[in-house]
Each structure stands twice: as C-alpha cells, then as structure tokens.
C-alpha cells in the first residue's frame, strides 16, 4: 500500500508520476466527449446553414458582431492569464497562481456579463425562440431555427464558462490554503486544459454564428 508516500498520491496509484499521467489522460478523454457533444450541435447547425443560407445569414445580421468580437478578445486574454496561472503553479509560486486565476475569473465574468447584455438585447428585439420570437420575414421559421441554435450553442458554452469559473474559484481557495507546490499542481493544469477547451469552442462559435454570410 502506498498511503505512506506524500499523502497526495491516491491509494490506487503506485507513484505520483503514474497518478499525473493518468489524470492527464482522463482529462483529454473527457475533452473528447466534450468535442463530440459540441460537435453534434455544430454539425446540426452546419446542416441547416447549408439548407437555408439566406435565412441564416439574415439571422447573423441581427447579432451584434462588435460584442462578439469584444468577447473573443476577452476570452483570448483569459487564456493568456490561465496559461500564466499554470506556469506559476509549475514554479510553485502561490501568489502567482492566485493572482492569475483571479484575473481569469474576472475576464470570464466580463464575458458572461457581455453575454447577458446580448441575450437581453435579443429579448427586447423579440428574437427569443419559444418566448417572444417574431420577425417580419418570409422565412421567419428558418431565422427562428438559427436563433434556436444560437441560444443552444452559446448557452451550452456559457454553462461551461460558469462551471469553469466555479472550478477556478475552488482552486484559488485551495491555493490560498497552500495545497499546491512545484511537486503537486495537477488540478491547476487540468483546469487550464478545460478552460482552453472552452475558449476554443468560442473561437469556432464566433465566426460560425456572427460572421459567416453577414451582409
């Protein structure tokens, strides 16, 4: 039994190295399931986009591309602060971890705030499918379909952001309690992988929803 060494190696592992590799593979496997989940939405969206290009382009026109672009920049910055946080963890710099994770949380919060403004704007303009959707267009049904996907995809993405912020908040607390060191910082690294993945999803969502085919 390996409960003896260091206390941070769970009983089912022989070495810290094995634990680290295993957790790493587990995270990548989890990200594959995420790719498949978003992938199904992206393919359905792509299929309808090909079916109804004009309606979907009209749908894109109603989106505020400035807000989308601003949010893209915010998320790219948050990826930078996340990467700096992981680097601080690798070097065992506790204050660095806390600072950069808090910055990441702040940027994530800004992103979600802008998203709320966008959703509110859609609500005011009667673009919420199933709630108050009405546009004056011969293919209103197809534009509604576009907004179904807009809300499903950005909503699922926002949900991932919220989960990510919760994870980062937990890590800040753990870091404050000196749980991490240059020898043990795996959770920070795994949270980094997750955060980068969520950012990458947005990197695809932004052009697909906001930019393609807009006039």
């Amino acid at each position: 039994m390996s409960e003896g060494h260091s206390g941070l190696v769970a009983h089912q592992f022989e070495t810290a190295e094995q634990q680290k590799e295993t957790v790493n593979l587990g995270m990548w496997a989890f990200l594959i399931t995420e790719v498949m989940m978003f992938g199904a939405l992206f393919s359905a969206y792509g299929f309808y986009r090909a079916q109804y290009p004009a309606a979907f382009a009209a749908g894109s026109d109603h989106l505020n591309y400035f807000m989308g672009a601003f949010n893209t920049a915010v998320l790219i910055c948050s990826s930078l602060t996340m990467a700096l946080g992981v680097q601080a963890a690798q070097q065992g710099k506790r204050k660095g971890i806390i600072l950069f994770l808090l910055l990441t949380i702040l940027l994530g919060g800004i992103f979600l705030g802008v998203k709320v403004l966008e959703y509110a704007d859609k609500y005011e303009h009667h673009l919420m499918p199933g709630i108050n959707f009405s546009v004056d267009s011969p293919f209103a049904a197809q534009i509604e379909l576009f907004y179904c996907f807009y809300f499903a995809m950005t909503g699922l993405h926002a949900l991932h952001m919220i989960v990510g912020i919760a994870i980062l908040g937990t890590l800040v607390v753990l870091s404050y309690r000196r749980r991490f060191s240059a020898n043990y910082y795996n959770p920070v690294e795994m949270a980094g992988l997750y955060w980068h993945f969520v950012d990458i999803v947005w990197i695809f969502l932004f052009p697909f929803l906001y930019l393609i085919g807009r006039s």
Partner: protein, 543 residues
C-alpha cells in the same frame, strides 16, 4: 468444484471487501470498485425485473388478435417502457458496470479503477436517471417508442416525453463516466509485464466498448436535450412544420444508438472469450484477431447507422454505402465466432454452467448475426422493415447474445464475487430452460415478421395468432428460466459452500486472489510473466 469446506468456516475472515465495512453508509459512500459493482448489480437486477414485467404484459396482450387486455395507448407505453428500461437501464450497464467494474482492475493487476470517486459518481448519476424513469411511469408513462422519433416525440405526444428525455440524458453521463474510467484504467493502471497483448480479451472488449461510450454517448445526450428544448419551448428544431428536419434527428439518434448495440454485445463477447478458453483448457485461437475484431467492430459500428433509415427518405446512394458498410461489420463478428469454435477444436471441453451459456450464445448470436445481414441488404430491408423480423433479430442479438453472455459471466465469476458456490444442477437446468424458452419466444417472430406482422401493433389479423401463441408460451418458459437464478444464487449466498480462490482452475489474475477478493485486491502488485490463457502450462503443472 467438490471442495468440502464447511458452511460456517471463513477461510480468511474479515479480510475481504464484503467484511471491510458494515452498514448502509459503508456501501453508499464506498469507492471500492467491487462494492460499486454490487450496487450496480442490485440496481440493474431491479430494472431487469421491471423491464421484464412490461414484456410479460406485451406478450399477454398479443395472445389474441383483438386489443382486449390493454388499450392501444397503454400498449404504446408498454413497449416504449420495455425498450427504454431494458436498453438504457439494463443492457448498456449490465456487463460493463457490474462485471467490468468488478473485474477489470483485478484482471490488470490494479488496486482500483483510475478514478474511484468518479466510479461512485457514475452509480449515483445512474440511480438519479433511474429514479427519473420511475417518475415517468408514475406520471403516466411515455409512448414514443425508445427511439423518440420526431416530430411525434417533440410536438404531438401527450405523454411524459420531457421527463423521459431528462432521465435518458442523465443516465448517459453515467455511461460516459464509466467508459472514461475504463479507458484510462486500461491505459495506465496495468501491472508490470502486462502488455497490451497479454491482456485478457474481456479487457480488450471493454476497451472497445468504452471507446463507443466516450465518443457516441455525448451525441445522443445533446440530441435528446434538443428534443427536450423543442418540447418545452415549442420551437421547431426537428419539426418540419417549423423548418426543422426530422431525418436529421434520426441521423443524430442512430449515430449513437447503432454503436450502442455494440456497447451491449461487445462485453458479452469478451465474456465468451474468457469462458470458452477456460472450459476448453486451451489458449484462445487467434488472440490478436479476436482482440482487434473488438476494435474493428467499435470503429465500423460508427459508420453504419444509416441502415436504420433505409425507408426514411435518405438518398439511395447513402443507403447503398450504409448497406455495404453494414456487411463489413459481419467480418469481425464472424472472426470471433470462428475463433471461439476453433478454440474448442481438440480442447478438453467440459460442460459447466457458464460453458452451456457459451454454447447458447454461439448458436443464438449466429442466427441473430446472419439475420442482421438480411436487414442490412437494402432491398430486403424494405420488405421486412418495422416488422417482427426486426424484433426477432434484435432479441436474438440482445437476449440470445448479450444476456446469455451476462448470465455466463454471472455464473463464471459468481464464486469470485461472493465467495460462494451455487448449485450446478439447478444452474444447468435453468440454462437449458432459458435456451428453450428463448427460441420458442423469438423464432416464431422471424416467421410472423416475414409474413408481414408489423412491430408495435397490438391488433393483428387472425392468421398470425398461432405464432403469437407460440411466442407467448415461450416467454412464459423464459420467465421461469430467468426466475431460477434469482433463487439459487441468493440461496447460495446464505447456504452455498465457500468457494476456493480458483474453482474452475482458470487462468487470469482474478483467480490468483482469494474469493471474495480482499479490499485492495493485491497485497503486492503482481508481475505478469506469461501470455493470457496459458492453459497448456497450467495442465502440465496440474499433471
């Protein structure tokens, strides 16, 4: 087998996973893969009984051509719930979550799965999904068929589709978590010397299964969620009246649900490999081919979903491509069947209960597989589409294949799991009753389906009645056969002889630890120095 250890004596008391902790809490908060397997075993057994009761009502209704026992609405709910419960709450978790959970860590020489807490989480997620389905029954059931085809499910059905969708959505995550745990465990937790090509084929089969769970399940989860959103918000994602495309739903649904049948059958195939080698006293014939055929089935399984949609209006070209690819999946399946048969060739075969189930599996899976080729053939499928021919084919694979494999596994590893021996005589008798009852239930369905009896109808022309009478009679026998193990296995828990560590004289690391295994499986992690199924060496040692 004739080990005469007295009932009361415990060879190694207080040292195994059953006695490692007492009380409900020690079970509900356990992270021991063996205890979680037992939790799963209890839960899926309950679901098996519930799903079976729905089947009993279906068969009773079909005894007469008129719809006299239940109304057509009730009948729709019965076959829907039978399918839902049996597929999502019994077949998919059956062998992986019970046998795989229990055995994979021991087979690969590990103390537990890679993520024990996630393993427990997956059971809770499964339980919540299961409770949601119970709630569905309380709220009047659901009538869409287990396939949830839109726009009926999203717009027109008046039943509890939304709640059902949530239940299936939740349950999907338990499947994902189990698959993730297995993949990572098999990659990273193998004992020293246990190379990929020394792994038991049971582990290979579960590796392939887990890949399907990981890649396929998220797709159906999000699809079901879209149906839920469509229903709640009244939008038209899959509703043609509102610009959506119902065929897109079918594509997304079958992208998971066709591979899902391999989630159900591959673990069974892994069991067959273990049992057939043990009771033939031979190394499995063509180890590499059997191992890779599991992966081939997993990969090809993702390319053939369109064969469920030959009559749905997909293009003829797509139909032809899907038809050809469907034929390809027969190759790895046949490789397995031929290799198991070749393993028996010149082996010293003995007929213990698990082996009887293997014989049952081989015959029934072959019939089910060959009729699958009929259904994969584009022209013929148009004739038998949505008839009892499909029902019979599916049940030959799932009941004749997957459940036979599950019962083989249950009987093969029961002494290891519980440390008790069951009555061979009763077990053999019930295996034979199950085989007879199964064939009488489902063979007539091939005939009546070919003659044109559609599935999901509870009123039918008089000339079909004889087939339905035979089928219902068979189902009664089958039910008796399934009831037997519940009694003699539970009886063995209290009155059975204590099992030695290796009652079958089988190979594999799980037989080197005591029965039942100690809490952390191994005192010291074993070093593996031999190939899997090295029965020739074992025989020499025994002689």
């Amino acid at each position: 087998m004739s080990n005469t250890v007295a009932v009361a004596s415990h060879p190694e008391p207080d040292n195994n996973y059953w006695t490692a902790g007492y009380g409900l809490k020690s079970w509900l908060l356990t992270t021991d893969h063996k205890r979680i397997a037992i939790l799963y075993l209890i839960m899926i057994s309950v679901f098996f009984v519930i799903g079976g009761l729905f089947a009993v009502l279906i068969r009773l209704e079909l005894l007469t051509p008129a719809g006299d026992l239940v109304s057509s609405d009730t009948y729709n709910k019965l076959f829907t719930l039978h399918g839902l419960v049996m597929i999502f709450f019994f077949l998919i978790p059956s062998i992986p979550a019970v046998m795989g959970n229990f055995l994979i860590p021991i087979m690969i020489g590990a103390r537990d799965l890679a993520f024990p807490r996630i393993n427990l989480l997956s059971w809770y997620v499964f339980a919540i999904g299961g409770m949601t389905t119970f709630a569905v029954v309380l709220f009047g059931g659901v009538d869409t068929g287990w396939t949830f085809y839109t726009p009926y499910s999203s717009t027109y059905s008046k039943t509890a589709v939304g709640l059902t969708a949530i239940g299936v959505f939740i349950t999907g995550f338990s499947s994902i978590l189990t698959g993730l745990n297995f993949v990572v465990t098999i990659h990273k937790m193998r004992a020293p010397g246990l190379t990929w090509f020394r792994l038991p084929l049971f582990v290979w089969a579960h590796y392939a299964t887990s890949l399907i769970m990981l890649i396929g399940t998220p797709v159906v989860a999000i699809t079901i969620l879209l149906v839920f959103l469509e229903r709640v918000f009244g939008v038209g994602i899959f509703d043609p009246a509102l610009g959506g495309d119902p065929v897109l739903f079918q594509h997304l649904f079958w992208f998971y649900s066709h591979p899902a049948v391999y989630i159900m059958i591959l673990p069974s195939m892994g069991v067959i490999s273990e049992v057939v080698a043990c009771f033939s006293r031979k190394r499995i014939f063509g180890y590499g081919f059997v191992a890779f055929s599991s992966l081939a089935i997993a990969v090809l399984g993702f390319l053939i979903w369109g064969h469920h949609m030959f009559t749905s209006g997909q293009s003829i070209l797509a139909g032809m491509v899907f038809s050809i690819l469907t034929m390809l999946v027969a190759i790895p399946s046949a490789v397995k069947v031929f290799n198991w048969t070749a393993t028996m060739y010149k082996g010293s075969i003995s007929f213990e209960t698990p082996m009887i189930y293997v014989f049952g599996f081989l015959g029934l899976f072959t019939v089910g597989g060959l009729t699958g080729l009929f259904l994969g053939a584009l022209g013929l499928d148009v004739h038998v589409h949505d008839t009892y021919f499909v029902v019979a084919h599916f049940h030959y694979i799932m009941v004749g294949g997957a459940i036979m494999g599950y019962l083989a596994a249950l009987h093969f590893w029961w002494p290891k799991i519980t440390g008790k021996l069951y009555s061979e005589a009763w077990a053999k008798l019930s295996a034979i009753i199950i085989f007879i009852g199964f064939n009488l239930t489902f063979f007539p369905q091939f005939l009546v389906g070919y003659l044109g009896m559609p599935r999901r109808y509870h009123v039918y022309p008089d000339e079909f009645q004889i087939f339905h009478i035979l089928s219902t009679a068979g189902a009664s026998i089958l039910a008796i056969g399934y009831a037997f193990p519940a009694f003699y296995l539970i009886w063995s828990l209290f009155r059975g002889e204590a099992a030695p560590a290796n009652p079958w004289n089988a190979k594999g690391l799980e037989w080197t630890v005591p029965s039942p295994p100690p809490k952390h499986n191994f005192d010291t992690i074993p070093v593996v120095k031999e190939e899997a199924y090295d029965y020739s060496r074992l025989e020499e040692e025994v002689v």
